[in-house]
Amino acid sequence: MDFLREFWDFLKLRKKFWLLPILLFLLIFGGLIILTQGSAVGPFIYTIF
């Protein structure tokens, strides 16, 4: 949570809100890739795509 707050403060300070969608995209897909690495969640995610 600290990280999210600090990153939000950073975006506000730098006025770079357009980075947010890119970052969210990267975090979601990065998270999926990490989760599917030999994880039990893998088969469920596979079916989504």
């Binding site: 600290d2 990280f3 600090e6 770079k16 980075l19 890119i22 990267l26 975090l27 990065g30 990490i34």
Partner: protein, 492 residues
């Protein structure tokens, strides 16, 4: 007592510095402990050393500061990707996992690493982040002997900035101008380091050492890569470079311009072509540095110049700035590269953020840059016995006499005394000594002792009062950061 720990890490030249009440107590680079040149890992050993030397445990440290801002670096990475997309997708895919897994969460990562020193350390509020070039500027100004100075920093890239100009007065630093990525003098020099077959981020000094053996016949071609303005500001023509989007420094346009592919160090020798290339980029670098120095001298009308950043380790360019007599005084941070960022970040926190007064030391505050480890006679003898080494001990006078005799007989001496140097230069505390009058000495030391290229230079040491008899220079140069010509009557 206020204790500040400065840390630089995760790019190259990791290091740690301890400040107590604004005084530099200890500083060391991680590579000196791990024996990995330019070690970029978390500087565990360096931090252990500065804590131990200061007789502190981590919980007693009041503030810990990292030398740059990871979020800003990440912003640069994303914006560069967007600006160049779809070019650079491969590099982006390679960089992102490391960022999303580790680098973006650097505060947590640093906190976890700090717990290795002290299990119960948990105070995140003690951790601060400086700005890369502010750290460089602070490392150049605050320990300098000047009450007021203009500070020029130049390196490959920090967060966004690659070159900055700042004014330092008392305990304040005011950044006036910046040149931003991808336009970088450091990266231009690194591109030629790569092109001539040396390793980027560590081989730049080899390129500088190679330059005097060549003629700058490619200078005009080098200038096609870079638009240099009268004030020394510049723009690199990105059509010749690959570092913003690729995994190499240069591209085919660059190679076609000079007519050769980059040298492969595994199976290609250094030729006159590479020496001429080195001489050409060196001259262009000097020209830019001189123009920058002259323009900031005129603009701010301040007599003193401080230099830091990797480019400030280019002692030949520094010597040219000195020779031009643009400034009355020049002071260069001996740990001008990223290692010095740990020192600069800590000093910036102490003076700027904590608003502590700065007392100017007319010599400088670096203690000769002898800020590292030290060992007494007993420890050294114990170590030598433990490894079964054969040794003799001498009285000081005999030691000096014997050493002088060996030197005059063209022997090489390993010289170890006092505290280890902070910064890349061996300044007589951990040095190899040889007789500079010998014709064979440079080659022998390089090939037989240091096992490196025969052209690599060494620095002479001379009594201050004899300096001008030998060299075209009459200012102190204690940190091996100013190169001057030898006087004509002393040449063979």
């Amino acid at each position: 007592m206020s204790k500040i720990l400065g840390i630089s890490a995760f790019y190259h030249d990791s290091a740690a510095t301890m400040l107590i009440d604004g005084k530099i107590i200890a500083a060391a680079q991680e590579e000196r402990f791990t024996r990995k040149k330019h070690d970029s890992g978390y500087p565990f050993n360096a931090i252990e050393f500065v804590l131990k030397y200061s007789k502190l445990n981590l919980n007693e440290v009041d503030q810990i500061i990292f030398f740059e801002k990871p979020f800003l670096k990440f912003e640069r990475l994303l914006e560069t990707f967007v600006a160049f997309a779809p070019r650079g997708f491969k590099q982006f895919c390679r960089a992102m996992p490391v960022w999303l897994k580790e680098k973006l969460f650097q505060k947590k990562y640093i906190l976890n690493e700090l717990k290795r020193h002290e299990k119960n350390f948990k105070d995140q509020s003690k951790i601060f982040f400086s700005d890369h070039h502010l750290s460089h500027a602070a490392s150049a100004f605050f320990p300098s002997p000047f009450e007021e100075a203009v500070i020029l920093t130049a390196d490959g890239v920090g967060e966004w900035a690659t070159t900055t100009v700042a004014i330092g007065r008392g305990n304040k630093l005011d950044v006036k101008k910046e040149i931003l990525f991808p336009h970088s003098l450091g990266l231009l020099y690194s591109a030629f380091t790569y092109y001539t077959g040396f390793k980027v981020n560590s081989g730049e000094y080899k390129l500088m050492g190679l330059a005097p053996y060549g003629n700058p016949i490619y200078k005009e071609k080098v200038k096609k890569l870079i638009d240099i303005k009268d004030d020394g500001s510049f723009k690199l023509d990105q059509k010749y470079f690959n570092y913003a989007t690729g995994l190499t420094m240069t591209n085919d346009n660059f190679h076609n311009l000079f007519g050769q592919k980059p040298r492969n160090a595994q199976d290609e020798n250094i030729t006159q072509f590479h020496m001429d290339i080195a001489a050409s980029i060196q001259e262009v670098t000097e020209e830019i540095m001189i123009k920058l120095a002259r323009s900031i001298r005129n603009e701010y009308n301040i007599n003193n110049l401080c230099l830091a950043g990797g480019v400030a380790l280019n002692c030949v360019a520094n010597g040219k700035i000195l020779k031009e007599k643009i400034f009355d005084n020049i002071w260069i941070q001996p740990a001008a590269g990223d290692a010095g960022g740990s020192l600069g970040a800590a000093l910036a926190l102490w003076h700027i953020e904590n608003n502590n007064e700065r007392i100017v030391n007319s010599n400088d505050d670096m203690k000769g840059s002898y800020l590292g480890t030290e060992f007494n006679q007993e420890q050294i003898e114990k170590e030598l016995i433990s490894i079964g080494a054969k040794f003799e001990t001498f009285e000081y006078a005999d030691l000096i006499n014997n050493t002088s005799e060996y030197l005059s007989n063209e022997k090489a001496i390993g010289w170890f005394q006092g505290r280890m140097e902070f910064g890349p230069r061996a300044l007589g505390a951990r040095s190899i000594l040889g007789d500079p009058r010998s014709d064979k000495m440079q080659k022998n030391l390089n090939l037989k002792v240091k096992y490196r290229e025969s052209f690599r230079p060494f620095a002479p040491s001379v009594l201050r009062e004899d300096l001008s008899k030998w060299f075209d220079m009459d200012v102190d140069s204690p940190y091996m950061l100013l190169v001057a010509n030898i006087n004509l009557d002393k040449k063979n």
